[in-house]
């Protein structure tokens, strides 16, 4: 049974249509990430759920009740903002107990609950400090405790980690997930960082231009992207344009080479397709006479990524990216002639339309306010 439902949400700002029919169904205690580049509408959607904005069409249903017209301070949801949301004139403790004070809870009860929550987020000792005395990561922990204090039905997080340092981000996202699982609270999480979304969520919904491109479990999103955008946005992907030449064998002509791709057997002859191959599934070895499903080319560059090195290979005009363990990559410096073996089974095919392929930067920059 769905606990949180977004039904046909539309939000049009006149100059831009931020949301174009969003449908989401989330079970109780589940964690869904809205993932996408800036401007895709994910924050707009979250703010609609929180009540800070009204949709032009559609409904928001929580636990069976329609809350679309309900004021934000009556929705019983907890929200964690990107930054700056702690009240500066109150200590951490006072911030956390704010929601309880509003609800008229007794001082003794409030104190106990605040203590429990500060403990939960690992800030038991910092209760009396003021926001300006807390680091960014600590502030967000307080913000989380504050949102949870009121025992909300739904937890909403709007890019809570974007303003923090990389290491803190990784640490904190795992803690958020841990706490969420412990409390079993239904959670909607907005981020532009795909690694973040994939690592902590039960479900991921990739959004682009106001629509949900694909929604599913993280592994599914990674290995079976349904659209070119999702393929490009999640992880790094090789995209090779090609044509199906022989469906019976699954032969696809691309980059001057004929590849055998399982998925091509389902396509009509002559269909234009996009062959998607993850870099880590490409086997690179020194050129040795071509085997099946192999492109021969030259190593252009190495990009050192720590445990893994990314090789960029050119092969008769096409460009291929292959990831391999750094130790092995040393044997194939730029300039080496190599064979790149492409996996027949793991390659995905998408239909190629005339719509221009979305261009996404390698490392999306953090979205500022």
């Amino acid at each position: 049974m769905a606990y949180l439902e977004l039904q046909g949400l539309v939000r049009d700002f006149g100059t831009v249509k931020a949301l174009d029919g969003i449908e989401i169904s989330l079970g109780e205690g589940e964690f869904l990430s809205l993932l996408g580049p800036s401007g895709c509408g994910k924050t707009t959607a979250l703010r609609l759920v929180a009540g800070f904005d009204r949709p032009d069409a559609g409904r928001i249903v929580v636990d069976g009740k329609d809350v679309t017209r309900v004021a934000p301070n009556k929705r019983d949801m907890g929200m964690v903002f990107q930054a700056y949301s702690l009240f500066p004139n109150m200590s951490a403790r006072q911030n956390v107990e704010f929601g309880l004070r509003i609800r008229g809870k007794e001082r003794g009860d409030r104190r106990k609950r605040v203590d429990d929550l500060l403990e939960l987020v690992g800030l038991a000792a910092a209760g009396d400090r003021y926001p300006y005395q807390l680091s960014g990561g600590m502030q967000q922990r307080v913000a989380l405790a504050r949102a949870l204090a009121i025992e909300p039905r739904v937890l909403l997080l709007d890019e809570p980690l974007s303003a923090l340092d990389a290491k803190v981000r990784v640490q904190l996202r795992e803690e958020i997930r841990r706490i969420q699982l412990e409390l079993g609270i239904t959670t909607l999480y907005v981020t532009h960082d795909q690694e973040e979304a994939l690592s902590v969520s039960d479900h991921v919904a990739v959004m682009y231009r106001g629509r949900i491109e694909q929604m599913g479990a993280p592994a599914e999103m990674y290995s079976a992207p349904a659209t070119p955008f999702v393929a490009e946005f999640i992880g790094t992907m090789n995209r090779l344009e090609g044509t199906v030449v022989d469906p019976s064998t699954g032969a696809v002509e691309t980059g001057g080479v004929t590849l055998i791709v399982e998925a091509a057997k389902a396509k009509p002859r002559g269909a234009r397709v996009l062959v998607l191959i993850r870099p880590e599934t490409v086997e690179v070895a020194a050129a040795n006479g071509a085997g099946a499903n192999t492109m021969t080319g030259e190593v252009l560059t190495h990009t050192f990524l720590g445990p893994v090195t990314r090789l960029r290979i050119t092969s008769s005009g096409a460009s291929l990216i292959a990831d391999m363990p750094t130790a092995r990559a040393a044997a194939l410096p730029p300039g080496s002639k190599v064979d790149a073996a492409l996996p027949a089974a793991e390659a995905r095919l998408l239909d190629l339309t005339d719509e221009p392929l979305p261009e996404i930067a390698e490392e999306p920059a953090p979205v500022g306010r």
């Binding site: 004021a71 301070n73 004139n89």
Partner: protein, 272 residues
């Protein structure tokens, strides 16, 4: 050092005259050290002028402060078109400088005994404000005039602080269940308070030091006008007594400064 000309100038034309005044307050008419000038301040009309100045400055500072915040907030808040705020800022910049002589006359033309508004109320609504005890040339009248430069000053000074009220705070408060008035009570007003108090003190000093407006209105029960009149008056008057009056003014203003500076720091800290 390159700053020498500046310090030399400041010394010659600010510190020296100021020091002369402060020290001279203690000089007797024929030389020697005395407190008689200071004690003389505690007699009428001087003590009355001081009290009146303080009262008038306090009233216009508070009135300017409260209304200034309300007007500034009305212009800045969500929902109000942007152009209103720009206009208000520009106008406030002008009005804050439109003091003294022209301002006094503008109000004489408005609320004086043959002022346009006075005549309007008399002829159209048959209400004679002067008959009912109002006069532009009383403390109340002067307060109304002072507001014309106090309000804009408040608006200019408090606007950045209002800008500093982050939208996230209001949204977080609503999210946690607070109604708008609860937000203001627990977060909005407390955060703004140091800035508001600081601005009110600024307004107080501004009014306290004002001379030209009251002079032009012929209102003499203020320490600045009294000091000026004393200084310009009788050739036999005691210059050191005038200096004592100045010392008294300085004391009040210095006290205001002493309260203002820590408030400023507190406000800046919370702005982070």
């Amino acid at each position: 050092m390159g700053t020498l000309p500046f310090f030399a100038y400041a010394f010659a034309f600010l510190f020296l005259p100021a020091g002369q005044v402060l020290v001279g307050a203690f000089k007797g008419e024929h030389g020697g050290f005395t407190f008689s000038n200071i004690t003389g301040l505690f007699h009428q009309p001087y003590i009355g002028a001081f009290q009146n100045s303080i009262e008038l400055s306090g009233v216009t500072a508070l009135a300017g402060g409260v209304f200034g915040v309300l007007i500034a907030y009305a212009a800045i808040r969500d929902g109000t078109p942007r152009w209103i705020r720009s206009m208000l800022t520009t106008f406030s910049g002008v009005a804050a400088n439109f003091g003294g002589i022209p301002l006094a006359f503008a109000f004489i033309a408005t609320l004086g005994s043959i002022g346009i508004v006075t005549k309007f109320l008399l002829n159209q609504l048959h209400y004679n404000i002067y008959l009912h005890g109002f006069s532009l040339f009383t403390k109340t009248g002067v307060e109304i005039v002072y507001l014309y430069f106090q309000l804009p000053l408040m608006i200019l000074v408090i606007s950045p602080a209002i800008d500093g009220l982050k939208r996230e705070w209001r949204e977080a408060a609503a999210n946690l269940g607070a109604r708008p008035i609860q937000f203001w009570r627990y977060v909005g007003v407390p955060v703004l308070m140091p800035s508001i108090l600081g601005a009110i003190i600024l307004l107080f000093g501004n009014a306290f030091a004002a001379y030209a407006t009251a002079y032009s209105l012929g209102y003499s029960n203020l320490i600045t006008v009294t000091l000026g009149a004393y200084y310009q008056g009788n050739v036999l008057s005691n210059p050191h007594f005038a200096q004592a009056m100045a010392l008294g003014m300085f004391a009040v203003l210095a006290l205001m400064m002493a309260i203002y500076i820590p408030l400023l720091r507190r406000a800046q800290r919370w702005a982070k």
